[in-house]
Amino acid sequence: MPNVSDLRTTPSPARSRRPRRANVIRLITVVGGAALVLSFPLVSPNPYILSVGVMVLNYAVLSTSWNMISGFTGYISLGHAAYFGLGAYGTGLTIKYLGLPSFVAFFVAGLIVLVLSIPVGFAALRVRGASFVIVSLSLVLVLLLVFQGWRGFTGGSEGLFVPRPFPDLSRSEHHLTFFFLFAALLAVSLLCWWIIDRSRFGTALKAIREDEDKAQSLGVPTMQYKLVAHVISATFTALGGGMYALWFGDLDPIFQFSILISSYMVLMALLGGVRHLFGPLLGAIVLGVAIEFFKLKFGDTQLHLIATGLLLGIVVLFMPDGIIPSVQSLLARFRPQESSISELSAAERLEEDAKREAEMTR
């Protein structure tokens, strides 16, 4: 009898039996979605809206990256903004002190964060559970202090100015260019997530999420795998930060190392569903637009905090898999195929359960 501890090493039977029609629909969805996203600049009525679009794509990159560690392994990182800030400042400082061209600096900063995230990940993941969260939170807080305190190097609270990579572009052309650059970065991170999701590595990570001790006793090298996921996630987040630096041009420790950005990342991924490829992206669109709308109309930071907190709390308490998956299962309950319990025999129910497990651990 199959059970949740099984580490599937072959693709689940369900996948190989999937009819072509569903595959085609899937492909159409992805292509259609991509087309919609890429055509957004044509629809946006003014550069301001376009800049909001850029911001939303930035959030999407960040929350997808967050999902690479926290969605797969279940290790909730509340301090991912640290890598965002490091990537942003890394790019800015590399340009300032080493004089490298913008995009070279961008990749260099990503590399630096990759290297830095190894010892950090090692310390954070060595002891599991709550210590990971404490470390991730502490990382953001301490980096905030360091970047504020080291004024001579980082500019402190006066901020760091990052020159534009294409200084001849008008402001709206600048937004347009970066819209596509962010879209490209998003595509790469989505691809990466997708590859991890389908791989044995990804299955092992999910096993860690389900029950780490069991996974370890079954031979999964948990420490190494967690570390790899952590490093990949940190690097993509840093690349998102670097691109933000090149686009926005003005960095400030309080807004780069911000707990609020961390919580947005978490909320967006949870909103869209942590187990789905496009979950964080959807969450980023919905939440990003909502945030901008509320900030513009109402301005108050207080209401955002309350709303963010409440939303997060509700999701944690009632919909830990994400809002969209919860809505899906709610809708699925109303479909006629689902029989009520009394009509099925015990054996049939067990078989249904097994099928559902197989689907979840794919």
């Binding site: 259609g32 919609l36 809206i49 504020q148 402190g156 402001r171 400030d252 637009v289 900030k295 301005g299």
Partner: protein, 416 residues
């Protein structure tokens, strides 16, 4: 199971499409928002002139931010009551930037690109001025601002920028430096301690004085800089108190000055001279720290200054808010006056080429305001100087320069 997957895909596709479409709709809807302010046309003289501003109504700078808002509101009332600008009523569109540098950029972008405002006023705080001035510059807009006073602001190569106050930060303490260095040997301070916030304006004022005092032979025995959200000054105060400096100079905003002074009082430090920027110009300062007698501060504005527009301003302000205005309100009012003068002289108020004409006019003319006559060099730096005020017997008095002073500067400072 295949059908469940299908349903999943369809739901996802539908949701994705729907949200993106919603996004686009919001964008479009926001686009033709509230730029047709036809509702206020009681004069029947055409559309109102919409002026966009972003202010820190919440966050670290919310206290002075509200002061600036009040100043702008009174200005708009005064202008509208006397017939408006170019015969059109003025309307303020104010957004809250939460004292945040990235928010202020987005705010001005939305005001200029989406709301298509005719004119803009600058935000509060030097930290926010530089990024927003850049945005305005990229859209070709005139940018007169009430609070960007640090030297770096004028080194950005922006020609659309004008600071609506008599002097930039490093020159704020000029009269005081002159006075101190002219004192006889036994009364002059020998040692100085500096504490400033890591903020281009606050630090600018303190370091401006520091440069002059050091050049005049006053030894610097402490030089502390702290991030803006610092609230615990016991460490800094300990160091300063240990030096027993003759003069303490604070490059401060509001609460940090209060906290620093309280910490210094707790440690029993009694300097001969004490100068803090910004905080002592607030009326609440008196009750926050006990006895403020003797504390000096640079100020660009004096309620009792006899300029005709000032008399009108003070009267109107009292009518609307029930008390005298202070520097923040005055700076805002001045900004309005400067822009109004340019608009009336050039004869237009809209985006586009008009903005460059306004900019050119201001570079070659001066404007009479509530802080006196203002004129600027080619970088937008004003060419005047700040007054020095001192708290004496529970009142703020102008003590320097002597020509403008009501009373003698009190020194050494009585115990606080």
């Amino acid at each position: 199971m295949a059908t469940t997957k299908q349903l999943q895909k369809q739901i996802k596709k539908g949701l994705a499409g729907a949200t993106i479409a919603a996004f686009a709709l919001v964008g479009c809807a926001g686009g033709d928002g509230d730029t047709n302010g036809d509702s206020n046309v009681d004069e029947g003289n055409g559309d109102p002139i919409v002026i966009g501003v972003s202010l820190p109504l919440t966050g670290d700078f919310s206290e002075p931010g509200k002061g600036v808002q009040q100043g702008y509101e009174v200005w708009a009332q005064v202008v509208n009551e006397s017939g408006g600008l170019l015969g059109r009523q003025v309307e303020l569109k104010i957004l809250d930037d939460q004292s945040s540098a990235d928010r202020v950029v987005t705010d001005y972008e939305s005001l200029i690109a989406q709301d298509q405002v005719d004119l803009v006023f600058g935000p509060f705080s030097t930290r926010l001025v530089v990024p927003s001035a850049r945005v305005a510059d990229e859209y070709g807009m005139l940018f007169v601002e009430p609070a960007g006073a640090a030297t770096e602001v004028f080194e950005q190569g922006l020609d659309n920028l004008f600071y609506a106050a008599p002097a930039i930060a490093v020159d704020h303490y000029n009269y005081l430096a002159e006075y101190l260095l002219a004192l006889p040997e036994d009364q002059r301070p020998q040692t100085a301690a500096y504490a400033s916030m890591d903020d281009p304006f606050a630090q600018g004022t303190a370091y401006g004085l520091k440069a002059k005092l050091e050049a005049g032979g006053v030894e610097t025995v402490a030089d502390e800089v702290y991030p803006p959200n610092t609230t615990d000054f016991s460490g800094i105060a300990s160091k300063i108190a240990a030096t027993n400096a003759d003069i303490i100079v604070g490059g401060t905003q509001y609460q940090d000055a209060v906290n620093l002074i309280i910490s210094l009082q707790q440690l029993g430090y009694q300097p001969d001279f004490a100068a803090f920027s910004t905080a002592p110009t607030n009326p609440e300062f008196e009750s926050a720290i006990g006895d403020p007698t003797g504390i000096l501060s640079p100020t660009g504005y004096s309620v009792t200054a006899p300029y005709p527009s000032n008399i009108e301003f003070v009267e109107k302000y009292n009518e609307v808010f029930g008390n005298d205005p202070s520097e923040d309100q005055a700076n805002a009012y001045t900004t309005g006056q400067v822009v109004a003068a340019a608009v009336e002289a050039v004869g237009c108020a809209e985006q586009g080429e008009c903005q460059q004409e306004l900019i050119d006019w201001l570079h070659s003319n001066s404007v009479n305001t509530v802080v006196g006559e203002l004129s600027w060099d080619e970088t937008g730096k004003p060419t005047g100087a700040h007054l020095i005020q001192q708290w004496i017997d529970g009142e703020i008095e102008i003590v320097l320069p002597e020509e403008a002073a009501g009373v003698e500067l009190v020194h050494p400072k009585p115990e606080w």
